[in-house]
Symmetry: C2
Amino acid sequence: MTQTPLPYERAGKGSVVDSIVQNLADDIVSGRLMPGTKLDARSMAERFGVSRTPIRETFGHLAAMGLVTHRPNRGVIVATLSFQALTDLYEAMSELEAALARLAALRMNKQQREVLLQLHQESLDVLRDGTVDDYSRYNHELHTLIFEGAQSSQLQQLAEATRMRLAPFRRAQFRMPNRVSKSWEEHDVIVRAILAGDADGVARLMRQHLQTVGTMSAEFVAENQPPERGSDTGSSHES
Amino acid sequence: MTQTPLPYERAGKGSVVDSIVQNLADDIVSGRLMPGTKLDARSMAERFGVSRTPIRETFGHLAAMGLVTHRPNRGVIVATLSFQALTDLYEAMSELEAALARLAALRMNKQQREVLLQLHQESLDVLRDGTVDDYSRYNHELHTLIFEGAQSSQLQQLAEATRMRLAPFRRAQFRMPNRVSKSWEEHDVIVRAILAGDADGVARLMRQHLQTVGTMSAEFVAENQPPERGSDTGSSHES
DNA sequence: GGTTCATTGATTGCATGCAATTTTTTGTTA
DNA sequence: TAACAAAAAATTGCATGCAATCAATGAACC
């Protein structure tokens, strides 16, 4: 056993950088680190009790995920997305989840369909009595169930990665009046279509559903973040 | 000015690691580095005239792209894909390009449609007189044109990244007898559908087209690589 | 002769240090 | 007082070195 001084709360499994990546990704996704916040290599090294080298590697991983933006010789900041980029990402997520829903309608087995139906029926209670956070959790569970039903792990990974990038900008999505009940109605027809095996129909419905969410969320963020202070055109966009 | 000994052919723009990433990615995509090849940090540092630190960072980027697999404390190898993973990736690409083709059918402007039609008509000559490589180039151009017509940069990036991961396993795809002419026929109906604005139709056609390609390619690779020597289920699955 | 364990060798992973670029501060001038 | 310029301070990017871990070889034992 080596006696490293205080190697951060080394989560038993993965390597040090993986652990830090998860930690920082969580901070960004959950909103504890707001978009635009500068991430200083030295203070991060201090916070996690490691040197700057693994922190550098960590930043590389986060940049590959699109969670931070790396500016040459100017450090990294939590990614800020322009209205255009946000809309693009929502469209990508919309198409990805539409494809997954279509596959789920074709491939879900009997048991998976039963679990899906049960979750959706339980959600009626959440709709009446639960909090917004409760509904948000149900929402996530539903989409996860659909992902698994599609049995297409690569598409699922792409969808989850895209969802993660959007998370910092989505948190207020259900705060808008009537959004929850409207969302439930959209889910309702989607679940019905999946259970009926209507592949093309569910793809169309899922696209509509997420485009609605995307438009509202993008507008909401645009309202609350117009200054565009760091007016740097995201260096890492379009190949 | 520092007199670095031989800082590799520093491509004027991006940083050193970006340059090396592109270089190695090219080697992998083009097949100069075959799947399963071990990438030694020291020899790479020597080859590019830099120290091991930027090479490490380079490996991180390549792993994030899915081009290499990183085994903890055991170095990195050029990614080898199981039959299942290959099929999954092909399905993802199929769905991504289907979505892009659908959007292209809806969004291409008049000029873009004209360019598309012209390229496709010229391809008739390639079909008759050109080499397999010529046809492969035309194939890439066609898909690129469709990508641009979709005007969805995030989806486009995902599709191109997926295409890149598959590239090392696709190179023999057109070597199969009759594959070229069959491919052209499929392209023909796809182009017609786009020009006609038949969004749902082109999505279905593109899915079929790429699933055909995928099945054939996966089987081909499976024939030539059954040993499955490094039977490690991707432990450090990168997002 | 085959199997198990220990030692050697090589490689990875991280810490530290130094040069270069960037940002901020301060001083000078119109 | 505002604006410009120059120097200082801080930060990034890379090189190098060292400890920990893993594959490989050889010796001892069954």
